[in-house]
Every structure is written in structure tokens, then in C-alpha cells.
């Protein structure tokens, strides 16, 4: 072992410059905004990379899927079909995934999501811009309705806890949240569309009727609502039970807080207590949940949009997957990742706006 005394001065001298750099980086990272953005970017990069390789590990590729289609539908031989497919797609199934990845990331850094593999000439970003708004509209509306309605019903349940109303609503919300939403979708289709014929399923396909000219007319908006009605109904049915139960439990907890009792003793009116003392505190965790749920708008829409033939981003993703359209899938996954990351950020931000106790680090 080396003796300590002679090396001591050298050890003291050497770390000084690197210590400064590390210290600088550490301080930079300690900044809340910097840290948040850094985390978000790392998350997005990790998910892109992961999904990039994952979707290429799925059995089949765009060419094979198209070859199968041509052979089955148009009775081509394998060779004919393969040369047709290869000539139509700008995609080389034999290129190494790593090369593809480097190329893709290069484009992505310039903000280019690339072209769809299976319909050449169509940019992925245009597809997303075309389908995404419909999903945001329908799922967002569903979320809004089920959140407000669920929170209201949950509050009523808490105020009337252990009464007939509470027991009934609890049972209903348990059933609603126990059954997956696509089952509700199927049931609604079969019972009201097929059996009772309350509506014409065929007419409700798509996001609006083909005869309509899009624009800000009452007629068009009405048509849009009509087409969104069933998916929205399913989103509400599928999620309202959770909101109700969450709000009920949160409100019951809040009703037992000291400050609610003291507020009553102070002679505040029950409406003031309900809004500013009970509701305000009980809904705090709900807003976090709400923001987090916004991140799942796209993911949750896939099956429902497919079921109701609602042309949103979910059904676009479904189609891309079935075609193994790698670039389109990748584009949608990117959007999903970004929306999850952003909505989590929003949850943090919103929470610190609503709850003064966590506001401390954000201010000053």
C-alpha cells in the first residue's frame, strides 16, 4: 500500500477542477424546471427506443402482411405478391433494426415523424393531426362528464353514507367499474342497436356523416355529437364508478376532519362548508387522478373506437398495428408517451396550485 504522506498534496490538488464542474451540474439539475424537462426527455426517449424494437419483434412485418393479403384476396403467387409489395412500400424488411433506429432518430430530432409505410406519400404527422382531435374530443368529453357526475354522486354518497341511497349507488358503481368498458360497448351495441333498434348502427359510423360539410354550423356540431354519443356513453359508463367510489371515500375522510367540525361550530352555512371546506379538500386527490387519466385518453380509446367505427387516433393505431405500419405505430406511441408525460406534469402543477401545502418548493 502506498504511504499516505507523500501523496496527500497531490490528492488535494487534483479534484479541484472536476469538483467545480460536478458542483455546477448538480446545481443546474437541482433547478426544478431543468430537472423536470430532463426527466421528461429521458422518459420519452426511453419509450421511443423500447417501442421501436418491440414492434419490430412482433411476428410479421408490413411486407409480409401485404403479401398475405394479396395472395389471399387476389390469388397471386408468393413471388408476384412479394415483388408488388416491395415495389409499393419504401421499406426494406431485411435492413438491420439498428440502422433503421439510427435513421429514425435522426429524422425525429428534426421533428420529422416520417411517412407511412403502407400508404406511401402520406406523412404520419398529417395522419395524427387528422385523427387525434376526434379522440381528444370524444374521450375528453367522456372524462369531463364522468368526472363531474362521479364527483357529485360521490359527494352525495358520502353525505348520505350508510343510507339506502349510498348502498344503491355503491353497488351500481362497483358493478360499473368491475366490467371493462368494451363489454359495456358491446352490450350497448347489441341491446340498443341490434335488439331494440333505438338507433341505426350503420348511420353512426365515423366521426360525422359523409353528407355533412365540416364547419362551425349547428347542424354539423349536432351531427358530430350524435356520432360521438355512443363512444362517450361507454367512456362515461366505464369510468364513472371509479370516480364515484374515489370521491365518496375521499369525502368521508374529509368529513371526519377537525376543520369541518370546527366550521360547523363556527356557524358557517352548509353550502359554504360543502364547497370550500369539504369539496375543496376532498377533490384534491381527484384532480391528480384526472390529470393522470388525461394521459390515458389515447390508450383507452383503441378498442372502443374500433368497436364503434369511430375514426379517431385509437382506431388509427389499431389499423397501423394490423398492417404492421411501423412508422405510423411509432408516431402514435410517441404521442401517447408525450401526453402521459405532459399530463403527469400537469397533475403536479395542478396539485401545487390547489394545495398550498405543496406550493412551498414551487414559489420563490
Amino acid at each position: 500500500m502506498a504511504t499516505h504522506t507523500p501523496t496527500a498534496p497531490a490528492l488535494e490538488a487534483a479534484p479541484v477542477p472536476s469538483f467545480h464542474l460536478l458542483d455546477y451540474l448538480r446545481r443546474f439539475y437541482a433547478n426544478y424546471t431543468v430537472r423536470t424537462i430532463f426527466k421528461a426527455l429521458v422518459t420519452i426517449w426511453a419509450v421511443i427506443t423500447f417501442t421501436f424494437f418491440l414492434i419490430r419483434l412482433m411476428p410479421g412485418n408490413p411486407v409480409e402482411v401485404y403479401v398475405d393479403f394479396l395472395m389471399n384476396q387476389q390469388n397471386m403467387t408468393y413471388d408476384e405478391a412479394y415483388s408488388r409489395a416491395a415495389s409499393q412500400f419504401r421499406f426494406d424488411p431485411d435492413a438491420s433494426p439498428v440502422t433503421q433506429y439510427v435513421e429514425y432518430m435522426g429524422h425525429l430530432l428534426q421533428g420529422d415523424l416520417g411517412e407511412s409505410i403502407t400508404s406511401s406519400g402520406t406523412r404520419v404527422i398529417d395522419q395524427i393531426a387528422r385523427f387525434l382531435p376526434w379522440t381528444i374530443f370524444s374521450v375528453g368529453l367522456g372524462l369531463l362528464i364522468s368526472f363531474t357526475l362521479g364527483a357529485t354522486l360521490g359527494t352525495i354518497m358520502a353525505y348520505k353514507r350508510n343510507t339506502f341511497i349510498d348502498h344503491t349507488l355503491s353497488l351500481i358503481s362497483s358493478i360499473l367499474s368491475a366490467v371493462p368498458n368494451y363489454i359495456w360497448g358491446l352490450m350497448i351495441l347489441i341491446i340498443f342497436g341490434v335488439q331494440l333498434r333505438w338507433f341505426n348502427v350503420g348511420e353512426l359510423r365515423g366521426t360525422y356523416s359523409p353528407t355533412m360539410t365540416p364547419g362551425f354550423t349547428l347542424e354539423f356540431l349536432g351531427d358530430v355529437l350524435k356520432h360521438a354519443m355512443l363512444p362517450v356513453l361507454v367512456y362515461v359508463t366505464g369510468s364513472i364508478g371509479g370516480w364515484m367510489l374515489n370521491m365518496r371515500n375521499s369525502t368521508i375522510g374529509t368529513l371526519g376532519e377537525d376543520y369541518v367540525g370546527v366550521a360547523r361550530a363556527r356557524g358557517l352555512t352548509s353550502s359554504r362548508i360543502l364547497l370550500a371546506y369539504v369539496g375543496r379538500n376532498a377533490s384534491l386527490p381527484m384532480f391528480t387522478l384526472l390529470a393522470i387519466n388525461i394521459g390515458f385518453i389515447i390508450g383507452g380509446s383503441v378498442i372502443i373506437e374500433e368497436l364503434f367505427v369511430y375514426k379517431g387516433i385509437g382506431s388509427f393505431l389499431y389499423w397501423s398495428i394490423s398492417q404492421r405500419d411501423y412508422t405510423s405505430m411509432q408516431g402514435v406511441f410517441l404521442i401517447i408517451t408525450i401526453s402521459v408525460v405532459v399530463s403527469n406534469l400537469m397533475a403536479d402543477l395542478l396539485y401545487s396550485r390547489l394545495d398550498p401545502r405543496v406550493r412551498v418548493s414551487g414559489e420563490k
Partner: protein, 351 residues
Amino acid sequence: MIGAVKPTIVENTMKNDVILQVQDLSIVYQTPRGDVMATTDVSFDLRKGETMALIGESGSGKTTLSLSFIRMLPNSARVTKGKILYSRDGVTRDILEMSDNEIRRFRWSDCAMVFQGAQNAFNPVLRVRQQFADTAAAHGKTDKAWIKQRTLELFKLVRLDPERVYEAYPHEMSGGMRQRSLLALGVLLDPQIVILDEPTTALDILTQRAIIDVLKEMQQRLNFSIIFISHDLALAAEMASRVATVYAGEIVEEGSVEDIFYRHRHPYTLGLIRSVPRLSRQQDELMSIPGEPPNLITPPSGCKFHPRCMFASDKCKVDPPPLVEYEPGHRAACWHTDKVAAARIAFAAQD
């Protein structure tokens, strides 16, 4: 406004300075195991400006009694008997007969209550001043300038830095600061009665001291009456002008501080006082009351204290003793007050 109108005296059976008169009040909690008789036949008067201490073991019914004065008993509680008469400006009302809106307005503007162990008495998402303003607004006082001035004045009175606390959120204050703010909030509307249910138990001894000083000063300035509940007998003796000993939901002895601490006639009061450690007393001389507080679903027959009483006779097992006045204002419910007095004198000689 005060003195401008001579209040018309509605038929008033209450003595002039009595503001709260409890008459034969009984309260039960309905539970699956049976009715818990938490308050039985309680009667007492509270006078303007005086402090009345309620002492008694845990579970004796002190909180239940005081909650009934602002009608904040839990849903499972029923008042089975009695009246709670409240008098202000010469008008006397039975609190139990007030409508929901009347009782809402009565709360805090006539009778404020600091709850036992209310560590989070303030809504965490509203500033303290907003909660003062809320309270004022609920009682029809919406003049912003007045509210602000009054709030700052009260913060000063409870020795808080008004500028600092005014904009603060509850979590930015210490437990002691919150307790002081709560006391300030308590007198915001100039109530006649302030109920303090163990207001200092969660605080350290110095903060306790400071709060007691603040309380006394506030009471001197604002002249409200206090119902003071505490397990700390020294504190009760210091704060109160009168004391009531509560056992198993009944007032078993009531009198001035001197009556209760130096001339007590009930064995339970004797036991409570002898169980307090004193520097001058050896540990082994401490007397604890044997046995457990009784089950209030099936309380003992006769005198409820008899199973734990060293003076109990056969009569005590059968006949409940009435509350008898021995000196003016000093009442006790015991068949053997003479023996208790003798024991008290013997103990005093020992010390």
C-alpha cells in the same frame, strides 16, 4: 347599538347575571350494545364573566355535556330530558328548541367552542384570514375593513405577529400559533360563552402557560364566560372561579374553587385531588381511586360511585344521593359528606 334599545324582558325566570342555565339534562348515545347514559340529570348555572371548570376522569361525560350546548352532538346521541336555557340581552331561549338556522347563528356568535384535540381546526387550503372572514360573513358581517381591523387586533391580543399570521396558511404556523389563532377566532364575534375542551393538552408547558395568560387577559378585556374542561387540576384551579366534578355523567359536586379544593365533600372529588402528585408529598402517599369508571350502559344502582368508594354503606347501594347545598353555592351528592370532610381534614394534617 348597545344601550340604544332597552331590551324587553320576556318572562325571565333566570337570575340577572345567569347566561346559561342547564336544567335536568340527560343525554344518551344509542349504540348496538345499548344506550350509553353519558349525561344524567345535570343542572347548573353559568354566570356572566365567570369561568366554570368541569373536572372528572376520562369518559365521565364532560365533552358530551359541552357539545350539547352548541347542539353538536353526534347523530347517535339523543337528549332525553331537560332544557338548556340561554339568555342574551334579557331574552331567554331554550337552545334545544332553536331552529336549524337559529342554532347556526347561535354558534360562535353566542357560544364558541375550542374542541378537544382539534389539531387541524383550520382548513388547510384557505388562508387563516379567509377563515376569519368566512366566520364573520356567516354571521352577516361583511364589512371588509372591519373584519381586517378586528382580525389584526385579535392577533395582537393573543400575542401573535399580526402581519405575519394574517397572510399565512395554517401549515405555516406551529401548533401553538394555531391554537392562539383559534382562540382569537373564538372571540371574533364577541361571544358570551367560550367552551374550551382541553385547550392546551397537545402543547408544551411553556406554550400552555402563554396560552393560559392570553386567555385570562382576553377574558378580562372581553368579559365572556368560560366553560373550561381539563384533566389538569392545577390549571382548572387557576382558571376557574367555580368547579363542577363530573362522575359517570352526573355532576356530583359543585362549588367555588375554594369549596372544591379545600372543602370538598364528595369522595370522588377527594380522590381526584389526592391523586395529583405534589412535591411536598411522597409518591407512596398518592391515592388513586380504586376500580374503573363504570359502564354507562348498565350503571351501578344507588350512588354510581359506590363500587369505588371507601365510605360506601348499604344505603349507597340502593338510594341515589341527591345534590344537596351545604354552603351557599356549594352542592354535593353523597350520603357521607361528614366522613369525607373528616378524611379530608385528616389528610390535610398529614401533609
